[in-house]
Subunit: 456 residues, 2 copies
């Protein structure tokens, strides 16, 4: 037996509810603070940006949040996603490990992002919203929201980091095919954008700036709201369909993970695969080692400070407690654009502080080595972001080989790399380098964190 | 109910055999002729190019050809592929038609091509072959054979039409990621290539030239064989997994197609979806209307001559009877590179002559209109080749609307367009035009067909 085995659930097994880790946390999440008063924000503070259903999902302590049927109907196009046993990769590594991967690249836009784009579009449509604004870096999130907007009949304006807009015209073309409007950020459409352009007319943009622009546009209009593709609790909540399906599929395989590996940028694909397993553990189930893999050039979990910070560069968002490199930190331009964010999802940061997960950082060339090995063995070409998870899983499998033990390793292959071929071309041409962030810039960004006195 | 419904078979339902239409044909296929003697070729004539298992599959009259287990094991990664009911597209069209599509873009390389690349690599490996040579136009076939070579440990040399090599660097990067060697054709590696380059040093290449190069290289070496991605009987045979699964899935949907639509270049994806249904009809089952959709700029079925012709430009192949525009005909450079071939699969041509199928031709801008409408409704971005099938299906659905009748329309969405985004960008920028072939060139190419006296 030399090949992959696929574990497929039929569509009746699409989860009927999202799993909320908040219900099982040994210690509650810190509150989200108003940037002016430093008091906890209430639902009304967020109402200009999000529909009430999503605001309530942000704070609920209920364990199970029912998935509306129209959302499950759209999920049915690609869910349940397959879980694979990577037998050919195991053989190539000569490892006794049992490697499993959940594959989210089967969605229309090619990643896990539609898992939350679809319900976000649905709840906004229900609330009478006409247009959504958002930001995108690599374009995975923007194209997913564009798809969801097309399904529910919402206009979508995507502020795309200018350097990506110029370098990734194909992602932009995909968004436009779905009918979205794509604007290079910083733009002249917003105050935040104009302020940046006044300083530097050819500014390459950043995710933090694009968030400011999208938030500003949404806050100004009654019929327009904002959608975020990661970080927030409700986004992570929606992604738990991934881990819930994986639990059922591991059961089909008659196995259970000893280790779960996920890559982390904002934290949503990681949370998606991890939270259902972690919840089971917290309720007395089997303990699982959990490893977050992040880029060494933007290492929020391994080098950031756990502190209250803004989610954007323009300081329009509330303050959230997270591992952050500082909202003014600009990561080097490595290829995994989806992992180039200064902060981390508060829930992921919280469980890291509670000692429930580990984190490790790798440079991109090692991640591409792993990704190419994976593609040659398994046939699927991973996105640069997903290559970090592949690298983490291979490291775990090699540890098994060294120790001569067989462990079950599960990782989330969060998307394909079909729109990232320039990165693979650079890799084969030897043009891919490992970029280091500027230590002085990091120190300055951390020194600039807002000073928040926390209640005991 | 506004969305797609997916019909999924579990992996035990991957067909156990390929279906051979030759067993049910009312009139046998014309023989393949030796280009020198014009006598039917025997297995030994083909042995320098193909392993004996594939040569026998080329001529067998058996109805069911068992699929080797190692091939089914690899198929399991993405097969059975999903069949969808296109409810959102139906709604957008306002048609009473029931539109179903089989989606082959879920394979590792993104099209139906691995269905035959995998068994071809398997049988060659079994026969002790070390290297496969092949040609590729758009790159769908080259990347599929590269994938199959990686799985079975065979070296793969791909002669890629030079204009595509230059314009589609990402497809080339995918082949290289799988470990294949990609050579722009015409090249200096072969006599056929050097002969072309001597005439014109910057020749853009063509599929016919690339075939000559790949065939020449394979014929020279004992341990090297040639693999073709369409046209031949054994290639069409391997694709029948598509139609067999679709039959089971239509049964799950409690429906049966009134019309089947497929796009045709060499004919393999068309044959894959059509032959099992046509075979059932020929054995006394329900009659199905079958529509082949081809590009108006390379219209072999609608404008070609049914005659014996070479499969390549260098005239290294045997003569096959098919609808052909002449082996010297160079189609204009439209985007559906996989449909830019002067000939047609002999089996597809044969059933066209028998009146069992219809054919229609569309220009590319209309096909892209259809593809963008499909993407906005269904979320999947079709390859330019597949847009022809989408266009054909939409035309059938609009006929239903006009007539006020509900018919079941099934089409094969043979691949995604993730590596064809330049075509979509050109479309949105208004740079996509409908190219006409040169009537004088066609007349000359047809006049140059080999003169073959057929036995009565």
């Amino acid at each position: 037996m030399t090949d992959s085995v696929k574990y497929v659930l039929d569509e009746t097994r699409i989860p009927k509810s999202w799993y909320n880790l908040q219900a099982d946390l040994p210690k509650p999440l810190p509150p989200v603070l108003h940037p002016g008063t430093h008091k906890p924000v209430g639902p009304d503070d967020l109402a200009p940006l999000f529909p009430m259903d999503l605001i309530l999902q942000e704070v609920t302590q209920e364990r199970e949040i029912p998935i509306p049927e129209p959302v499950r109907d759209v999920y049915r196009q690609w869910r349940p996603s397959p879980l694979y046993r990577a037998r050919r990769l195991e053989k190539a590594l000569g490892t006794p490990a049992r490697i499993y991967y959940k594959y989210e690249g089967v969605s229309p836009s090619g990643s896990h992002k539609p898992n939350t784009a679809v319900p976000q579009a649905f709840y906004n449509k229900q609330a009478g919203v006409k247009k959504l604004t958002t930001e995108t870096g690599a374009g995975q999130w923007g194209s997913s929201l564009a798809f969801a907007g097309a399904v529910f009949g919402l206009a979508v304006d995507v502020y795309m980091v200018r350097v990506s807009y110029d370098q990734k015209p194909y992602r932009r073309a995909l968004m436009e095919t779905y009918g979205a409007r794509c604007v290079p950020s910083p733009s002249n459409e917003t105050q935040s954008g104009r302020a940046i352009l006044a300083q530097r007319n050819d500014h390459p943009g950043s995710l933090g700036i694009a968030i400011s622009e999208a938030v500003e546009m949404a806050a100004q209009r009654e019929d327009t709201k904002y959608a975020l593709g990661s970080v927030l609790n409700h986004v992570l909540l929606h992604q738990t369909v991934v881990g819930q399906e994986a639990m059922a599929q591991m059961e089909m395989a008659n196995d259970y993970p000893d280790v779960i590996v996920g890559c982390t940028g904002g934290g949503s694909n990681f949370a998606g695969i991890v939270f259902p397993f972690l919840g089971a553990q917290l309720r007395g189930g089997k303990k699982v080692r959990i490893v977050a893999v992040e880029p060494a050039a933007c290492p929020s979990l391994t080098r950031g400070k756990y502190a209250f910070d803004f989610g954007d560069t323009g300081h329009l968002t509330p303050l959230v407690k997270m591992h952050t490199l500082g909202s003014t930190f600009t990561p080097p331009g490595f290829h995994a654009g989806g992992l180039r964010y200064h902060g981390m999802a508060p829930m992921v940061s919280h469980i890291k502080e509670l000692g429930l997960i580990e984190a490790v950082a790798y440079h991109q060339t090692k991640c591409f080595d792993a990704g190419v090995m994976f593609a040659r063995s398994e046939g699927i070409l991973p996105a640069p972001e997903a290559n970090h998870a592949v690298k983490g899983a291979i490291e775990e499998a090699l540890k098994c080989k060294e120790e001569g033990v067989s462990r079950a390793i599960l990782f989330n292959l969060c998307g394909h790399g079909h729109f990232d071929m320039q990165a693979y071309m650079d890799y084969f041409a030897g043009r891919l380098t490992d970029q280091e962030y500027d230590e002085a810039e990091l120190a300055m960004a951390l020194a600039g964190l807002p000073s928040v006195k926390e209640a005991a």
